[in-house]
Point group: C3
Chain length 426, copies 3
Amino acid sequence: MLTKEENALLTQTGPGTPMGEVFRRYWLPALLSSELPSPDCPPVKFTLLSEDLVAFRDSRGRVGVLDRYCPHRGSSLYWGRNEEEGLRCVYHGWKFDVAGTCVDMPNEPIESRFKEKIRTLAYPVEERGGVVWVYMGPPEQRPQMPELEWTRVPDSYIYVTKRFQLCNYLQNVEGEVDSSHISFLHGRVTPSGESATAGVNPIGGNIQGTSLIDRSPVFQVKETDYGLLIGARRNAGPDRFYWRLTQFLMPAYTMIPSDPGSPISFTAAIPVDDTHMVGFTVTWRPDQPLSKDDIAQIEAWRGIHTEADANFRPLRNIDNEYMIDREAQRQGSFTGIRGIREQDLAVQEDQWGPVTQRDREHLGTTDLAIIAMRRLLLRDASRLEEGIEPPEPHNGAAYRVRSVALTLDRAVDWEAGAKEHLAATR
Amino acid sequence: MLTKEENALLTQTGPGTPMGEVFRRYWLPALLSSELPSPDCPPVKFTLLSEDLVAFRDSRGRVGVLDRYCPHRGSSLYWGRNEEEGLRCVYHGWKFDVAGTCVDMPNEPIESRFKEKIRTLAYPVEERGGVVWVYMGPPEQRPQMPELEWTRVPDSYIYVTKRFQLCNYLQNVEGEVDSSHISFLHGRVTPSGESATAGVNPIGGNIQGTSLIDRSPVFQVKETDYGLLIGARRNAGPDRFYWRLTQFLMPAYTMIPSDPGSPISFTAAIPVDDTHMVGFTVTWRPDQPLSKDDIAQIEAWRGIHTEADANFRPLRNIDNEYMIDREAQRQGSFTGIRGIREQDLAVQEDQWGPVTQRDREHLGTTDLAIIAMRRLLLRDASRLEEGIEPPEPHNGAAYRVRSVALTLDRAVDWEAGAKEHLAATR
Amino acid sequence: MLTKEENALLTQTGPGTPMGEVFRRYWLPALLSSELPSPDCPPVKFTLLSEDLVAFRDSRGRVGVLDRYCPHRGSSLYWGRNEEEGLRCVYHGWKFDVAGTCVDMPNEPIESRFKEKIRTLAYPVEERGGVVWVYMGPPEQRPQMPELEWTRVPDSYIYVTKRFQLCNYLQNVEGEVDSSHISFLHGRVTPSGESATAGVNPIGGNIQGTSLIDRSPVFQVKETDYGLLIGARRNAGPDRFYWRLTQFLMPAYTMIPSDPGSPISFTAAIPVDDTHMVGFTVTWRPDQPLSKDDIAQIEAWRGIHTEADANFRPLRNIDNEYMIDREAQRQGSFTGIRGIREQDLAVQEDQWGPVTQRDREHLGTTDLAIIAMRRLLLRDASRLEEGIEPPEPHNGAAYRVRSVALTLDRAVDWEAGAKEHLAATR
């Protein structure tokens, strides 16, 4: 349980907020590269950390991210002309390049030097792994790019999707670091009400129903250079433990485990404003292209990637009650909702509303990772208020990690036993 | 005219408000029983007195009404599994019975006793007359069930409907106790503009146009053990008066009059929050099933029952301007709107907005019952703030009343003359 | 740039605000006469300067504008019966004439004199030029009707349209007095990115592309008895200037220029509330009916009149992104949006939101007229707060002006050279 004040601190990321400052120390996934498919294509408007922005890809293929509104009289640059290495406001023709420099001001007299006084807000941009990343913090604190494995492999090795989610970002992060809910939310039950001891592993691998049998995992959390390594231990026969290792990477990235050899997953929960977020989900293979079967499995939309419309709104959403099928729920699906991600949406988008009220919660033993993750965020926010910069953003190499699910001898130390699976090779 | 403060007091019923406390001393109609048609059927979410709740019918057929949100981390129990005598949260499997007891907490270790510390808010429930009643007040003040006649007859004797109304509850109550508006809102006029002296009695009985001829009734109000008995007297020939007797039953129930021998009516105006309400309307015969003709008349949807969609939204509503027919209005319908209830909706859902501004009103002689009803509510709220509990909830038998419309000799005392018609026989 | 306080002062026009008081010194266009097509037709509801009103045309053809809500208990008179020289509330039959007098109160006893104590708010109304004008200020300050030429010609000489616009009124006024934006927003460009030196004049006349060639006009502003006369000068060959003269008429009317001999135009930007406005656009010929070709050109909806639905909502609006055609934008239309007015809507309806933030702007040399217009409004508001009434409303004859676009010898004084074109003849 948190105080109302701590909850506000954790969930508010607009300009000037302590947690907003923490987010403004990191490169953040902002758009899919495919939203800006070609030089001089139409601009895209979006909101990030409660700031209204516009993105465009210039004639040379560089992506610019600018304040959405023209500094002249505030017209939206979203209507702008994307032409000749700049985005031009349609009201009076002011034109800005990707750096925010005003490169043309045709409504002023030729001799005017007013143009030189005008800049618009522009944020640094990088493109990696099919994603447009933005850095919104102070220039002198500009961090390294996180060396996430999926940003370092060929395009054919990765599959990236984006979705809007109608809640604060932290509800999604909490779901990701909470390995215990998979036994329920994503599970199946027999008609008698007992969890099935066999059946499809909802996460996609072959765990022989283990996580469904032992439904009260023991959590262990280790702080790392990038965030947290979270171990959730379940009994798996008399001599062995089944370990699900989840990565939490500052400020709001997670990797839920896969079986060794399966495609690996990454998610980011990016605040749009304090009651909306964008989720990015990535699946990749480190050393070969995704197979047709890998892709077919993703595009069956039963896993962690959502089927969404052209505006990234999930097709199964709160307005249609996630198309919940109460008869299916009765017959064995724990929720009656199709799709891992949609099941998450159902529990995350209305948790005492769009911003959950953490002063009302009752945490149990399986919420250990959630507590640790919140503590880390609060600590970094509090330190930054005192002027102490977070170290993680400046250690891009630390992000070269993976997550894994595996069984180990009970006697084996989990971190040591999983070590080879946790290091990214790319 | 009231002060702004009195108006706020009368209209606000959320937790902790004085009038909210008054409502929390009564059994309140919350749902139709048919919304929970069978054991273990899907749960229903609703809001009552500004509290978000969920209802379910358990395996034994008992109805539970719980806080909508799981006390663990606030996920909505509306997505929950209704199974084996409890509602189970889909996030981590916590399960609650109709009493709010946590009967299973499968994500905790077997040895954990955390479950014993967890309860969720649960309100007492009764089912009577096809309606789920809820009591939301202090357990030690739990009242008797009001012995309303329609809750004591066989199902085939009653017809119950429910509708959402986009205004504060009190606007609806005021319409119900205001017998004078029927000469206008529900009337017909001849093309010359004069009220018709004959024609269909809009309320359903045979009053030979009396209420239409004498359009300025004289009101008399008597305080009773359950609320108010309201008499509205109209001239009906040289020697007789036409009396319409309306019952106001604390806290927000009314019975508008019917002719002796006709089906009888009851309504409840239940606050969802301060700008929305649910209306329940009941028609019954005390001593025999409703006839096919009774039902056909109701289901012509021209009376006090509304034609609504599956979500209880009236088909003729403010968004489609109640399908007002301006030509019909010109030809003789006073409003051009079809249906007694829809006519009420039109004048109630926008009375200086959804919460009428009683500091701006100008009350006349026919508003006497409205004044008395408000005074009663304000008095009970004020007393309760001083710790004096209202007596009405503890006198269930007092609710055994009916209303009636009849003509009496001018010399006859109205209460005495109507006495036999006012007592419920069941 | 203005302060936040100045911006609030300029943009807020509700009851009791300083700028609202200024607007309440003028006759304001409120409705099209055609919205009340015949005696006793259905009433119309609307909001003006944040006041909720209802209009009706009585049996004698007079238009009444009343407080929307009945003073009895606040029911909406919009549902009212418009009959026999008055609008009758459907709740209890109270009836009001165009002057706000309560002429019938049939729910009161015959001997009651309550009716005499009741008046409802009624505003004076005039109909001119196909428009219903309302005066909402103190009776003793009731001004003259502005003698606008288009209000003094036969109906066949004029074409009037109305549209809702989702922004504060001032954003529209600023667009109208800003002659410089036509070179951009309403222009075309060659695929090379340069403005076309020839092509259709977006305003409708024959200016041989002049305004497109010289895109940094020099502004001159003169204060007049009715507001401002604004000259925007562009180079037009070695010896001549091209002048676009725009009229700003207090409090929110404008005339953008036409070529001599072409139909003339007028617009009004009328506050609904602080984030919505109604725009009226008028095109007229002073001395002959509009030709079939004039009307065909208007009804091609490519100019300053908008194609709108029955509720005056533009068909190309922010919800459908004004049906922007990005390919057309690339091919030569500066915006890719069809229609002068729709182009204006795109830049006006989201200028840092629906109320632009003038403390963030960066004005240039071509914003001179905007600055002068704001100063005039602020001055009148400030004087009125000191009790000094604005003089303009009491000088109806001063509004007999036109605007014009023409080329003049560089040596000629612009006001003198344009004089004959600026005076209305009707």
